[in-house]
């Protein structure tokens, strides 16, 4: 038995140098890339990651293996990739949540401890929805009514998640809502339908049926600019509520990755988004438009967003 172990060990030692990949920017990638999606399979980030991976891997000529590390709002995945070898073969898919987690102190690092590569897709807009028979037609109506009836109307928000940003901003704008917890976005729809809550933030593609059947209506979008698909709906920012965000699905690499590798991946993504007709077709069927930001603007976007969030970080952290 000892002999067997010995020979096994010998074989593995002997073959090691042959397999261990030499990583330099010029021949990157020469082996499969591990793409860590910070959310579970089937969600928006996962879908976008898979759609992009399919075309980027054609572009790069190497397979991309996708792993979902969905626990704890994506913080586990971020920590895993942060500590991974910066050889260009581990890539993280994350979005806004990494900034919210940093601002609320759930994680003790920020996006800046990773190397942002590129924004490769933009999820459908988050909106503020209420039941169609609600007496309000704008955010201002809601705020005014809630001041007359403090604590009567219920708004859902989750601690340490982007929705809490909305709640804090609304209260800061003068609203006197009862901010309650709801769980994931899927749970908010029945709560609103069943009169358990009165105002919910939700991604617009999840409530399309309810808008068509006249069960729900939209008071505002949460995007930073008016959305091309909902041109008549004002944003929260326009309504005087200091909160605006988009879910930008973004590739990150471990900090210390060769900038040339980062640039290579970003260019490949840019090429797919700009010029690949079958990718565009696939994304549009999902209700999105192709979207891309190169490394520099991506970094700026995350820096800006984090700065905005840090302004309310004390409330996010529960200090007053």
């Amino acid at each position: 038995m000892k002999k067997l172990f010995l020979s096994l060990a010998m074989i593995s030692l002997a073959s090691a140098p042959l397999i261990a990949a030499e990583s330099s920017a010029s021949n990157w990638p020469n082996q499969a890339i591990n793409l860590v999606v910070a959310f579970s399979a089937g969600g928006n980030s996962d879908y976008n990651a898979r759609a992009m991976a399919k075309y980027v891997s054609q572009e790069l000529g190497q397979p991309i293996v996708i792993t979902n590390v969905g626990a704890a709002g994506g913080t586990i995945a971020a920590a895993q990739v942060k500590d991974a070898k910066p050889d260009g073969y581990t890539v993280l898919v994350h979005q806004l949540s990494i900034n919210v987690a940093a601002a609320s102190g759930v994680i003790n690092f920020t996006y800046a401890d990773l190397a942002p590569v590129a924004v490769f897709a933009k999820a459908s807009e988050e909106v503020i929805a209420v039941r169609a028979d609600a007496p309000w037609n704008s955010i201002q109506d809601l705020i005014a009514d809630s001041q007359k009836n403090p604590g009567k109307y219920r708004l859902t928000a989750n601690t340490g998640a982007s929705t809490q940003w909305i709640a804090i901003a609304l209260q800061n704008a003068g609203a006197k809502l009862n901010v309650v917890s709801s769980g994931g976005s899927g749970e908010r729809i029945p709560l609103l339908l069943g009169n358990h809550v009165d105002v919910i933030p939700i991604q617009v593609n999840m409530i399309e049926d309810y808008l068509k059947t006249n069960k729900f209506k939209i008071l505002a979008t949460v995007s930073s600019q008016r959305s091309p698909s909902l041109p008549n709906v004002p944003t929260l920012l326009e309504s005087g509520v200091k909160c605006g965000y988009n879910y930008y699905n973004t590739f990150f690499m471990p900090k210390g990755t060769d900038p040339a590798i980062v640039a290579k991946l970003s260019q490949a993504v840019g090429k797919v988004v700009a010029g690949n007709a079958s990718y565009a077709k696939e994304i549009e069927a999902f209700g999105q438009t192709p979207f891309y930001m190169d490394t520099k603007p991506t970094e700026e976007h995350f820096a800006n967003e984090l700065e905005n969030l840090m302004q309310i970080s004390d409330v996010l952290r529960g200090k007053k």
């Binding site: 067997l4 073959s15 499969a32 604590g151 601690t159 809490q164 804090i168 901010v179 409330v315 529960g318």
Partner: protein, 167 residues
């Protein structure tokens, strides 16, 4: 069941409950909108408190029974309950250690190599000594074959297993 042992179990759970309650004190309570009546401390304190009470009941109940049996049956000493690690105990302990080693090597050596090593070690551990020679070749082939098969199967099914020297 032996009452002394039951008292021991009760004491264990009482200590656990006490530690758990002590730990609950350091949970930061956080109420950004001032509307939650119960904080995150409340339920742990309920659970810990209930467990402490129940374990005291368990200890007391068994202490009473112990007293009764001792007075009625002074000679009935429970022999042979002393904990001995026999061959079976060692086998269990080694199994646990092998599993730990396997998990430790899982991401370091990669799936295939760590699985081959684990299967070899665990199979040789569990097989009765007299059969070891006859099964040796089967075990070696089986471990290698199964590891490679599982690796190919699961990675084909879009699942990520740790890549290693042989992956």
């Amino acid at each position: 069941m032996n009452h002394k042992q039951e008292i021991g179990v009760g004491i264990f759970f009482f200590i656990l409950a006490a530690l758990y309650l002590a730990g609950s004190l350091s949970i930061s309570s956080f109420d950004p909108f001032g509307n939650s009546t119960l904080t995150s401390k409340a339920i742990p304190q309920l659970i810990g408190g209930l467990m402490a009470v129940l374990s005291i009941i368990h200890i007391a109940g068994n202490a009473l029974k112990l007293k009764r049996t001792q007075t009625s049956n002074e000679t009935g000493k429970a022999g042979g309950t002393r904990f001995e690690i026999g061959r079976s105990g060692w086998l269990m302990l080694l199994s646990v250690l092998f599993i730990c080693a396997y998990i430790f090597l899982f991401t370091r050596l990669g799936f295939i190599l760590s699985t081959i090593l684990f299967l070899l070690a665990e199979m040789f551990l569990l097989i009765p000594a007299e059969k070891r020679k006859r099964w040796a070749i089967f075990i070696v082939c089986f471990s290698t074959g199964l590891s490679i098969l599982l690796y190919l199967l699961f990675t084909k099914l879009s699942m990520f297993l740790p890549r290693g020297l042989l992956g």
